[in-house]
């Protein structure tokens, strides 16, 4: 069953239980519970304990809770009720028999004795509990009750009876429990030796709930004929403070208050509670409990060592260790152990992993944990406790060994440069709303510039981001107390990086702040970046998107670029933001050149670094800034002009003026036109040919070929003019006449076509030669149905036929009976297809 289904099942069970229990509770709760509550812990919480029930008093409060105690527990308690001499004592013992089954027994005594009157009640209960499901526990108890009253040493009344309890515990979520308890479900009567019966405990139903915040507090609420409210706070693992209140539901009595505390040292636990009823005197309750296991420990936690925790890197601790724990397997066999790590201040649930410990050896394990994202809301630095526990199966029970270590959790922004510059990648937050809004606006405006004067798209983005920050007035302000140059070189020193949204809010930052800000904005626009580590300083490389082999496209010399991993990058000095893109670029190049001279430049790819140091966006309000679009665009255009000038200078120097001065010849244009024509771009081909004619008006080939193109565009009349012009230029080429004839034939003008085609075929050298001139095989052997549509096959055969007839007509000197066809072939075939069978002069 998936956890999702299990959760639904729990909720359904809970709703069903509430639906059936609530009316019953409403009906029966009017019967007051007349059992005296037991256990100082429960009493201190105002009797709100039925959903907690996790110690030996569970047999009284909710027997289902016995299965969750998890160890043997022996407890004894005592109280002098209301200071009037009524003594109350309880002894209880819990024995878990397996992880899913437990038994318990208790003996309760209360009594009063003076010179004349004596009263005593003894109650022995045995119970058991088991796990129906991991989230549903059930328990039951049976009790034998005896009562006796003496007067002047003589027994005047005595009797005994039997009663039954039952309980359920449901855990809808990890820290929330619901309890249902039926106490004395059959009503517990005491029957005297004379056979006279008397109701001792009436039936009592309780509905209860409790919520636990691990390591911090538990709040609980019970309702029967009274409501009970309790709170237990654990400021320290050894200490618990408790308070509670209860009152009858009719409101006839005043509230009864209670409080208490508990101390836990090793196996022992001491609890005290004071209950303050509205009319009677207060009562103090004391208990002493021992929690133990009969089976000895098989694992010992030798050492827990926790390093300092940097909350900004919290995601990395799920994989990268922040310390280590040493576990010794005391057995001579391998032992499978579940190791749990929990930091109450930084986590909502423990992180667990299963390991196998080698026999007899100390096994060292890295400490890793899934910290809660709320850690980014932490203010300042704080000490934290790392709790490690090792659970394993010992005989038929689960034993748990515990160890702790203390360390510091630094607030968001803290960084130790000694651990490497790649950590700064965790501060590169492209998704931050403040970054996203500004980057998008800058990117959009950069793309709106006419024809991207920066040339490369990534260059335009780099310029836009730099100028956007300059336009907003983001200034480089070195940290006066902890300058980067000093603190980055000091081992173990903890520096602060401001998140990009913070730098945008403050409009200032030192080099690490402005570097992560620019990296974030560029990252938002899809531009990869690298941190550049030069002595005492950090700056940025932006990916141009160019492969190394295309570096010339950048249009600058090699001093203004960095080639890394076959990519071309440009350096950006983020402390020069205020002076614009080109200045930041040049300054970045200078900084790298200076570092290279001393061989102390290191690059760290931000995207790669984020695999280990995944960024997280801190919570909170954002000051989203926007650009004054006209002013920004003007600035960007001015910047673009400067970049354009640099590029043009470079291109002129590299390729020479000669590279641009040659003019396209008519021949070249015709060559391109031919290919455009083949590719089906008739308009483009026509344009090229007109260009060719403009350069060479006497070109018969250009006229002929333009005629072909125009025929393909269904402009037969103008096409014919160009063919005639080609002939008028004195070109003796039968192909031109073939073109004229074929087009006329295709348009249904058979007679006219024959008059042109006959001489043309003859001049071409016959039918076969004429076919080849127009790109047809004479015998049609290449006409396969797979290659041509039916219409095209008809067209090809038609052209062959008309050429054959024309040849015959030429031989018989015009004695043909009539035109070959009077049906325009173009009704079935588009002119562009026909034009493929026209003669082209290469």
């Amino acid at each position: 069953m998936t956890s999702w289904n299990a959760r639904w099942l729990r909720l359904a069970a809970l709703l069903a239980a509430c639906a059936t229990f609530t009316p019953a509770c409403e009906a029966l709760a009017r019967t007051p519970s007349n059992q005296v509550p037991v256990g100082p812990r429960a009493i201190a919480m105002g009797g709100a304990f039925s959903a907690i029930a996790d110690d030996a008093s569970a047999l009284f409060w909710n027997p289902a809770g016995l299965v969750g105690v998890g160890n043997q527990e022996l407890t004894a308690s005592h109280a002098n009720l209301f200071g009037v001499g009524i003594r109350e004592d309880l002894a209880a013992f819990v024995l878990p028999l397996s992880p899913g089954f437990a038994m318990a027994a208790d003996w309760y005594h209360s009594g009063f004795e003076d010179d004349e009157l004596g009263f005593s009640e003894n109650r022995a209960t045995v119970g058991m509990a088991f796990k129906v499901r991991p989230w549903l526990w059930a328990g039951t108890g049976a009790k034998l009750l005896t009562r006796g009253t003496r007067l002047d040493g003589l027994s005047i009344v005595s009797g005994r009876g039997i009663g039954f309890d039952a309980g359920l515990l449901v855990s809808p979520t990890d820290h929330w429990r619901i309890g249902l308890v039926g106490q004395d479900v059959t009503g517990t009567d005491v029957r005297s030796s004379e056979g006279k019966g008397d109701n001792a405990y009436s039936r009592n139903l309780r509905l209860a709930t409790a919520y636990t915040r691990p390591g911090l507090a538990t709040a609980a609420f019970d309702v029967d004929d009274r409501w009970h409210l309790g709170l237990e706070v654990t400021p320290h693992a050894l200490l618990a403070l408790r308070g509670g209140a209860e009152r009858d539901r009719e409101g006839r009595e005043d509230i009864a208050w209670s409080m208490g505390l508990g101390l836990k040292v090793g196996l022992a636990r001491i609890d005290w509670a004071r209950s303050v009823p509205p009319t009677l005197d207060p009562t103090d309750h004391f208990s002493f409990a021992l929690e133990f296991n009969f089976n000895p420990a098989q694992v010992r936690i030798e050492k827990v060592q926790a390093d300092e925790i940097y909350t900004s890197l919290y995601k990395s601790y799920a994989r990268d260790a922040f310390g280590k724990v040493q576990l010794r397997n005391l057995q001579d066999r391998p032992l499978t152990t579940r190791v749990s790590v929990f930091i109450p201040e930084l986590m909502t649930a423990p992180s667990e992993q299963e390991v196998t410990l080698r026999p007899g050896a100390v096994n060292e394990m890295p400490l890793t944990a899934v910290l809660d994202e709320t850690v980014l809301g932490q203010r300042g630095d704080r000490p934290v406790q790392v709790q490690v526990s090792a659970s394993y199966q010992s005989k038929r029970l689960v034993r748990r060994e515990k160890g702790t270590a203390r360390t510091f959790a630094y607030g968001p922004g803290a960084i130790n440069w000694g651990e490497g510059m790649t950590q700064a990648a965790a501060f590169v937050t492209p998704r931050d709303p403040a970054v996203d809004a500004l980057a998008r606006q800058a990117g959009r405006l950069a793309l709106a510039l006419d024809k991207n004067p920066f040339g490369i798209r990534n260059m335009a983005f780099a310029a836009a981001v730099t100028d956007a920050l300059a336009e907003l007035g983001v200034a480089y302000v070195p940290d006066p107390t902890n300058p980067f140059s000093t603190i980055s070189a000091t081992p173990h020193a903890v520096d602060t990086i401001h998140y990009p949204y913070q730098t945008l809010d403050r409009l200032s930052g030192d080099c690490d702040d402005t570097t992560v800000l620019m990296a974030s904005m560029l990252g938002n626009l899809g531009v990869n970046t690298q941190f550049v580590d030069v002595p005492g300083h950090i700056l940025l490389l932006a990916d141009t998107g160019l492969n190394e082999r295309n570096r010339a496209a950048l249009g600058v010399d090699s001093t203004l670029m960095v080639i890394d991993n076959e990519r071309v990058w440009i350096p950006l000095e983020t402390t020069s933001l205020a002076q614009g893109f080109v200045k930041a670029w040049r300054d970045g190049a200078d900084a790298i050149a200076a570092g290279t001279a001393t061989n102390k430049v290191h690059y760290f790819d931000v995207t790669q670094a984020q695999v280990n140091f995944e960024p997280a966006t801190p919570p909170g309000e954002r000051n989203v800034r926007s650009l004054v679009e006209e002013r920004f665009s003007a600035r960007l255009e001015a910047e673009a002009k400067e970049v354009s000038a640099i590029r043009e200078q470079y291109f002129a120097a590299r390729f020479g003026a000669g590279a641009r001065e040659l003019e396209a010849t008519a021949g070249a244009l015709e060559e391109v036109a031919r290919i455009e024509f083949e590719g089906g771009n008739l308009e483009g081909a026509g344009s090229r040919l007109r260009g060719a004619l403009a350069k060479a008006p006497q070109s018969a080939s250009a006229h002929n070929n333009l005629g072909d193109v125009l025929a393909g565009m269904d402009s037969a009349a103008i096409a014919d003019e160009h063919w005639q012009a080609a002939l008028a230029l004195g070109r003796r080429d039968p192909g031109i006449a073939l073109n004229r004839g074929i087009v006329r034939w295709a348009r249904g003008d058979g007679a006219s076509a024959m008059s042109l085609l006959g001489p043309a075929v003859a001049e071409a050298g016959g039918y076969a030669a004429a076919c080849r001139l127009v790109g047809l095989d004479p015998d049609g052997t290449h006409d396969r149905a797979d290659d041509f549509s039916d219409e095209l096959l008809t067209l090809r055969n038609g052209i062959r036929s008309v050429l054959q007839q024309s040849e015959l007509a030429g031989k018989e000197q015009g004695k043909v009976s009539g035109p070959p066809s009077s049906t325009p072939i173009l009704s079935n075939v588009p002119p562009s297809e026909l034009s493929r069978y026209l003669y082209w002069i290469e």
């Binding site: 492209p430 998704r431 996203d436 980057a439 998008r440 990117g443 959009r444 950069a446 793309l447 024809k451 490369i456 798209r457 990534n458 983005f461 990252g523 938002n524 626009l525 899809g526 531009v527 990869n528 998107g545 160019l546 492969n547 082999r549 295309n550 010339a552 496209a553 950048l554 991993n565 076959e566 990519r567 790819d605 995207t607 790669q608 984020q610 695999v611 590029r647 291109f651 590299r654 390729f655 020479g656 000669g658 590279a659 641009r660 040659l662 003019e663 396209a664 010849t665 021949g667 070249a668 244009l669 060559e671 391109v672 290919i675 455009e676 083949e678 590719g679 089906g680 771009n681 483009g684």
Partner: protein
């Protein structure tokens, strides 16, 4: 002595005469490629046509003109340019790969696969073919799909890579030829994984670099 001097002078003159136009054409080709990659396609096109003025059927110019047409979304015309370029240089692996890419974009799967196979074989293997096409190595961090709206034709490097792999499997082992393109293998880094809905650096802008430009 005088004979030697005369010989040197004649040699220098011949070298100047023969190589000067060649160098000018090389520069034009390089400049045209540079312009095309930096988005100045119209200027690049003019340059390549001037190369045809110098040498009819110049395979470099025709291949690169095909690339420009492909970038404009005129795939059929691009195909015609590649086919014409192959007439001039049928042993250039890069032109075959461009040709195959155009066929792939036109949906002509069978011809595309055959052309890729030929290109891979001539290149000397799929890695060399990928390098010729400017396709980076497979990223360590998978790249999220991006909108590719700004260019009329956007080539998906993953698709080309898949075709090259498929083509490689069609080439018998140990029978690859090298076109001698001197291509270095890429060392490849993981690309950025974050993508927003705004303007993107990679929205098809890498497409010019995913074609083979003949220099």
């Amino acid at each position: 002595m005088r004979r030697n001097l005369l010989f040197l002078a004649v040699t220098a003159l011949l070298v100047t005469v023969v190589t000067a136009p060649l160098h000018a054409t090389d520069a034009r080709s390089e400049y045209g490629v540079t312009l095309a990659i930096s988005g100045e396609e119209a200027r690049a096109e003019s340059l390549f046509i001037t190369m045809l003025s110098h040498t009819k059927g110049d395979a470099r110019a025709l291949n690169n003109l095909g690339n420009i047409r492909l970038l404009r979304g005129e795939t059929s015309v691009a195909l015609a340019f590649y086919e014409r370029a192959l007439r001039g240089d049928s042993l250039d692996a890069g032109i075959h790969l461009n040709h195959a890419t155009a066929l792939m974009l036109l949906g002509n799967q069978a011809r595309s696969e055959a052309a890729f196979a030929r290109g891979v074989k001539l290149a000397g293997g799929p890695e060399a073919a990928a390098a010729l096409m400017g396709i980076p190595k497979e990223p360590a961090v998978p790249k999220e799909p991006t909108e590719r709206a700004s260019k009329k034709t956007a080539i998906d490097p993953e698709q080309i890579r898949a075709m090259l792999k498929q083509a490689a499997s069609a080439v018998p082992t140990g029978k690859v030829e090298s076109a001698g393109s001197g291509v270095k293998t890429s060392t490849g880094k993981a690309p950025s994984a974050w993508r927003s809905a705004g303007p993107r650096a990679s929205d098809g802008s890498e497409t010019p670099q995913l074609l083979y430009w003949k220099r």
